[in-house]
Amino acid sequence: MNQPLESTATLLNRVAEGQDAARDELCRRFLPLLTRWAHGRLPAYARDLSETQDLVQTSLIQALKRIDNFEALREGAFLAYLRTILLNQIRMEIRRVTRRNKHGFSDADSEVTDPEASVMSEAIGLDVLERYEAALMTLTDKAREAVMRRVEFGYSFPEIAAATETPSANSARMLVSRSLIQLAEAMK
């Protein structure tokens, strides 16, 4: 990943000031990241019904519309915020598709046992996903952001260091390591 010329925080400030170029740059930066993330969170049939990228774009636009209300302009906090919006969008999409299926528009071949099960929950089990989400909420903001970036978004440690305002990649590595232990403890 090329080093951003401007930090996310700077871009967010510029978006808050109404600069369209900053908005485009933020979208360019986060779209691939969030698309990849959303891919695993959507049920297989839901991914057929709506382009994941569209869903992500919708979420991004929604988030940027509310940027004035977004006080913590740190990159880590912004990504956590985007993730929450995107999760809500995914849930809405699933409900919409489920309702439509109940009204007879379903394709018999795409019927699944649990219509709301994502690829992720089918692979690892809904129980694990729920315990992970619950445990994530027990962490401090910084620890939660570090874990999310590493586990869900595949950030490298220099990237995590920059996003979490940690002095170095080694410090970020330790932050992730400690946070993962706390997370694992909380998942029991």
Partner: protein, 483 residues
């Protein structure tokens, strides 16, 4: 959150290594649980399902670069200090990550660049496993800097948990490594100038490495204007505090102060400022040794004491310290050898005593055996003469056993004159024979005669006497039962 103490679960460590590149946090927390490993495994599965670490099309190109400095791609800051900044950088020529130390520049430092370069280049000539390897030094974009090995590990100041369980051998290894490192630096004509816990690192292979030659490369004018003061005050030798030029002995004082700090968790002098430190040093204030004597062995404590001597000349040099370490290491072997020699000598002495006693006993037994043999021979000879003696007509005598015994009894004194023990033995034999013939009076008489002969000798024969006494008792009983 539950905390279970014990060695961390290897599986948990392995998963954490894969997820975060480090399991040090697990060591620090002392977590040990199969459950923890299971949860970490679930997190790892989530990591993989999310796509894992995002792939880079070309890792070398894609790594974020802050700026270039000469042939180095500067990747991220990893530390800073009064001297300047340290960065993680990639050396494209060596194709490896290195640490880049860039000196601060300013109007007050125009002369420093050349001094810095000169010493950095000398340091680059030092190649020792216990010294951070400096690869080169240069000035680029008006910033002097040097690049060196990137050490991943823990500094001594971050190793308190490990130090708590240090045994004498561990302390000796640590001291030896650092002294060897200092010796290599000194041999290159340089001083370290800033030995302290945060400048000593243990790499992933467990090797202690002296690093950060900040003080020697970043000398600043003393406010007094007369001397160059370098290093960290709490670990600085008295002569340095008082403004004198540093020497190799000052590095060993700093090493002593570093060890003192790590052994006691307190500095040699707990002071707040230079003035207080200088005042204590000038007065040669005694150091509190009690705080380290409880935590380390006598020989290690003695080494630290020697290094912290007030007078530089009184401090040991590298060779002396290394010799002392070797001596301490081999002391148990020497003690073992001494004990072994003592044990062998003792065994020999005991052996000699027992052998001597055995010889005495053997001699005594031999004497007794010889005496017994002589007695037997005398008795046999007596009986032979007795049986072969012709009667008055010159014919061999045809006589009853009783008559023969009576005859023998009459001949004992004459035949064995001067041999009381032999006479006693013959009297015993006669008593036993009479007893076999149920002649109790004769038995009693022979037994009494035998005891009488034994009374003449000293010491009393312990074999014949009880046998004769038994014959007397038997004869008396026999006589009592027949009367």
């Amino acid at each position: 959150m539950s905390r279970r103490k014990g060695p961390p679960d290897l599986r948990a460590k392995s998963i954490l290594e894969r997820l975060s590149g480090s399991s040090d946090a697990l060591d620090e927390l002392g977590e040990d649980s199969q459950d923890l490993a299971e949860r970490l495994k679930e997190i790892e599965q989530l990591f993989v399902l999310h796509g894992g670490e995002r792939p880079m099309a070309d890792d070398e190109v894609e790594r974020p670069t802050l700026f270039s400095w000469g042939h180095l791609q500067v990747l991220e800051p990893i530390g800073s200090g009064s001297f300047g900044e340290v960065f993680l950088a990639h050396d494209g020529i060596l194709d490896r990550d290195v640490a880049l130390k860039l000196l601060k520049t300013g109007e007050q430092r125009p002369f420093q660049s050349q001094l810095f370069l000169h010493e950095a280049r000398q340091l680059a000539m030092v190649r020792h496993p216990n010294v951070l390897a400096v690869h080169g030094a240069a000035i680029h974009d008006a910033r002097p800097g040097l690049w060196c090995d990137l050490i991943e590990g823990k500094t001594l100041s971050d190793s308190e948990a490990e130090l708590a369980s240090f045994q004498q051998a561990d302390w000796l290894n640590l001291i030896e490594s650092l002294v060897l490192g200092l010796q290599a630096v000194h041999d290159a004509g340089l001083l370290h100038g800033d030995v302290k816990p945060s400048n000593i690192m243990r790499d992933r292979n467990g090797q202690w490495v002296l690093m950060d030659f900040g003080a020697s490369l970043d000398r600043q004018p003393d406010p007094g204007g007369l001397a160059m003061t370098t290093g960290t005050p709490l670990y600085m030798a008295p002569e340095g505090v008082m403004g004198q030029s540093p020497s190799t002995a000052a590095d060993f004082y700093s090493l002593g102060a570093t060890l003192y700090r790590m052994m006691s968790d307190q500095p040699v002098y707990a002071v707040k400022d230079w003035t207080e430190l200088a005042s204590l040093q000038e007065r040669s204030t005694p150091i509190d040794w009690t705080v380290i004597e409880g935590s380390v062995s006598g020989p290690v404590s003695k080494l630290v004491r020697a290094m912290l001597a007030f007078e530089p000349a009184a401090r040991p040099d590298a060779i002396e310290i290394l010799a002392e370490i070797e001596s301490t290491r081999t002391a148990p072997q020497r003690r073992f050898r001494s004990i072994a020699v003592a044990a062998v000598t003792g065994s020999l002495l005991l052996g000699l005593v027992f052998t001597g006693w055995g010889l005495v006993q053997a001699n005594q037994a031999r004497t007794e055996a010889e005496q017994e043999q002589r007695n037997t021979a005398a008795v046999n000879a007596f009986l032979q003469r007795l049986l072969s003696a012709p009667d008055d007509s010159g014919q061999v005598r045809d006589m009853t056993v009783e008559a023969m015994l009576d005859f023998a009894a009459g001949e004992v004194r004459k035949e064995l004159d001067g041999q009381p023990e032999a006479q006693a033995a013959v009297h015993l034999a006669l008593a036993e024979s009479y007893e076999a013939l149920s002649l109790s009076d004769e038995t009693l008489e022979q037994a009494r005669l035998g005891l009488a002969e034994l009374e003449k000798i000293e010491p009393i024969n312990t074999t014949l006497r009880p046998a004769l006494e038994l014959e007397i008792i038997a004869a008396l009983e026999s006589r009592g039962s027949t009367s």
